[in-house]
């Protein structure tokens, strides 16, 4: 369980987010949505320990600022928006960095094969020998996800759930790979881990998230299941454009239809 209580972050004198409280349970995919500049990435950075904050962030009951770097690294892995390299690493070398904290949770003999298995998961079979710098943006993003998956290969280690923090994991991907990556997130949660992901696509959010946190101007505008949160008035107000929410015919899964940029 990740518990956030009254979290605020200021950069310089400017308050970027304030008064954020929520729980993100293991076994769930929690999506953070909201317009550009609403504080989504700042929130995720605070949870990742990148930014100083006021308030409390607990991961499995422990305040993250009281944990050592290797301890937090064994509880959660973080996928950044984009990563550029200055040195010519191969894809395998980058993915193998995910093994370096030594707490993947894989069986002892299996660890050497994890990079290949992680690459296969993100649909990059046969890419191990390629140079990272020569890949496309979407491919680089999937290599980084493979690295992050290696770091917390078992969603539960010694009875303790672990977490994936994903900052816009699908933004640079084509539709097939968006679905593959969201499946990985779902599977990680199904096996007992927790996922917190920043998403821009409200329909992917509706399909894959258990809970949705809606950020608006540095505050949390709403939190709940997709069916609760994705309704015309709220999301039109938050995103400041006219949106209509419908329902996929057979069931209750909402879908969002863009109408126009004005309200």
């Amino acid at each position: 369980m990740i518990e956030v209580r009254n979290l605020s972050v200021s950069i310089g004198r400017k308050r970027i987010i304030s008064g954020i409280s929520f729980d993100a349970a293991a076994g769930n995919v929690t999506a953070i949505v909201g317009p550009n500049g609403s504080g989504k990435t700042t929130l995720l950075k605070a949870l990742s320990g990148d930014l100083p904050y006021e308030g409390e962030v607990h991961i499995n009951g422990a305040e993250i600022s009281s944990l050592k770097p290797w301890q937090t690294a064994s509880l959660r892995a973080v996928l950044p928006q984009a990563t550029t390299l200055s040195f010519p690493f191969t894809v395998r070398e980058i993915v193998s960095l995910g093994l370096s904290n030594g707490r993947t949770g894989a069986l002892a003999g299996e660890e050497g094969r994890l990079p290949e298995r992680a690459l296969a998961r993100v649909d990059l079979d046969g890419f191990a020998g390629r140079l990272y710098q020569e890949l496309s943006g979407g491919e680089q993003q999937r290599v980084q996800l493979a690295r992050v998956l290696c770091q917390v290969w078992s969603p539960v280690l010694a009875g303790v759930p672990r977490y994936l923090f994903l900052d816009e994991p699908v933004s640079s991907l084509d539709i097939k790979h968006q679905l593959i990556i969201m499946d990985i997130a779902r599977d990680f949660a199904a096996r007992g881990g927790g996922v917190i992901a920043i998403l821009h696509d409200l329909n992917l959010t509706a399909m894959f998230a258990d809970r949705v946190l809606v950020m608006h101007r540095g505050r949390m505008a709403a939190a709940g299941s997709p069916a609760e949160v994705l309704e015309d008035g709220l999301i039109s107000r938050v995103f400041e454009c006219r949106l209509r929410v419908g329902a996929v015919p057979p069931g209750t899964m909402p879908f969002v239809l863009p109408q126009s940029a004005g309200i």
């Binding site: 320990g49 990148d50 290797w70 690294a73 950044p80 200055s86 010519p88 191969t90 070398e93 370096s100």
Partner: protein
């Protein structure tokens, strides 16, 4: 299975260059032994290694080998390794293949420390010399290098991102400032000190003595010993500071250790041999092309190749115009500067980062 991995007796997966790297390190060990033996033989006086090893030499030849050439070879190995390692560590720390203690003012800062000791050691800095003994010069150079490196890091890095242009320009400014202060000290120096400064400033292994090895050796040995413990952090740092922290690296503490290591290795080298440039940039770059940028292999390989190349450069410097010799700094600059330009031309994009 590639030829490399067959030779290393181990099947490597695609993209795994560790077998190749281990083989390269073994080969570099062999190269260093050969170059060291060659260096013991080569010089203005013709003495054969075999006859020295066999003990069948005159007293004069024995003195040439044990009191002149052996300390010189050992000093060359220490300094070559130190320069190459500090280049590799600095490049990893700044996430930039162009970072080099010589280029970004760290050597100039270390030089200022050394000049302060040479000129003011008998007067103002007397108590420091009395306290530190033979270590006064390398310690002063270390302190000068440390201050410059910390300033440089403060100026060039903001929120974990280093601007290449800012780093190089700040390096020029810091180098110029150190140069200006050094100039003032040179102006104050008396004739004997001026002669010392001139010999020192050209960059040379010529003054190698057992005393110099005792003075600089421990500092350099410490920084070489620290290198293996930095490899994992430097690899993680390639992803950026935030990602390195997410992987469990204590980033802030590690950066302090890396900065002290670079300053120590550079300071000790500058103190005993003056300004020898470009080893720190050429050696790691060549090795990244050969075995890749994994610092677990890059750091030891850099130390070995740096030592070999500096010994070769020294051999050239004392044979090319025998019986006199050329300062080694001229040789490394003559080879290294065009190489540096070649890196720039191949990767013009670097400066736009």
């Amino acid at each position: 299975m590639t030829g490399w991995s067959v030779l290393a007796g181990r099947e490597a997966g695609e993209g795994d260059r560790s077998a190749r790297a281990r083989l390269a390190i073994a080969a570099l060990c062999g190269l260093l032994v050969l170059v060291a033996l060659f260096s013991l033989t080569a010089g203005a006086s013709d003495v054969s290694v075999l006859s020295v090893l066999g003990g069948t030499v005159s007293e004069r030849d024995r003195i040439i080998v044990y009191d002149i050439r052996l300390p010189r070879v050992l000093l060359g190995i220490l300094i070559g390794a130190a320069l190459a390692i500090s280049g590799a560590v600095m490049q990893g720390l700044f996430r930039n293949p162009l970072a080099d203690p010589g280029l970004v003012g760290v050597s100039a800062g270390a030089g200022l420390g050394a000049i302060t000791m040479i000129v003011l050691g008998g007067t103002v800095m007397g108590p420091f010399v009395a306290l530190a003994g033979i270590y006064a010069l390398p310690l002063a150079a270390f302190i000068g290098g440390l201050i410059t490196t910390m300033l440089l890091y403060r100026i060039a890095t903001r929120r974990g991102q280093t601007s290449v242009a800012t780093m190089l320009l700040a390096g020029i400014a810091l180098g110029a400032m150190a140069g200006a202060f050094s100039g003032v000290l040179v102006y104050l120096a008396d004739d004997r000190q001026l002669r010392d400064l001139t010999f020192w400033g050209l960059g040379s292994l010529a003054g190698a003595t057992w005393t110099k090895i005792t003075a600089a050796g421990p500092i350099i040995a410490l920084s070489l010993a620290a290198a293996p413990f930095m490899a994992r952090a430097l690899n993680a740092l390639a992803l950026g500071e935030a990602s390195a922290a997410h992987l469990g690296i204590p980033v802030q503490r590690f950066k302090n250790v890396a900065i002290v290591t670079v300053a120590a290795a550079t300071g000790a080298s500058v103190a005993v041999s003056g300004g020898i440039g470009f080893v720190g940039i050429v050696v790691p770059h060549l090795l990244r092309l050969l075995i890749g940028p994994d610092h677990r292999y890059l750091l030891p390989a850099s130390a070995l190749l740096g030592a070999s190349l500096l010994l070769l450069a020294d051999a050239v410097s004392r044979t090319i115009v025998a019986p006199t010799e050329l300062p080694i700094g001229i040789v490394t600059a003559a080879v290294g500067a065009p190489f540096f330009l070649w890196i720039l031309l191949r990767r013009r994009g670097i400066l736009d980062l």
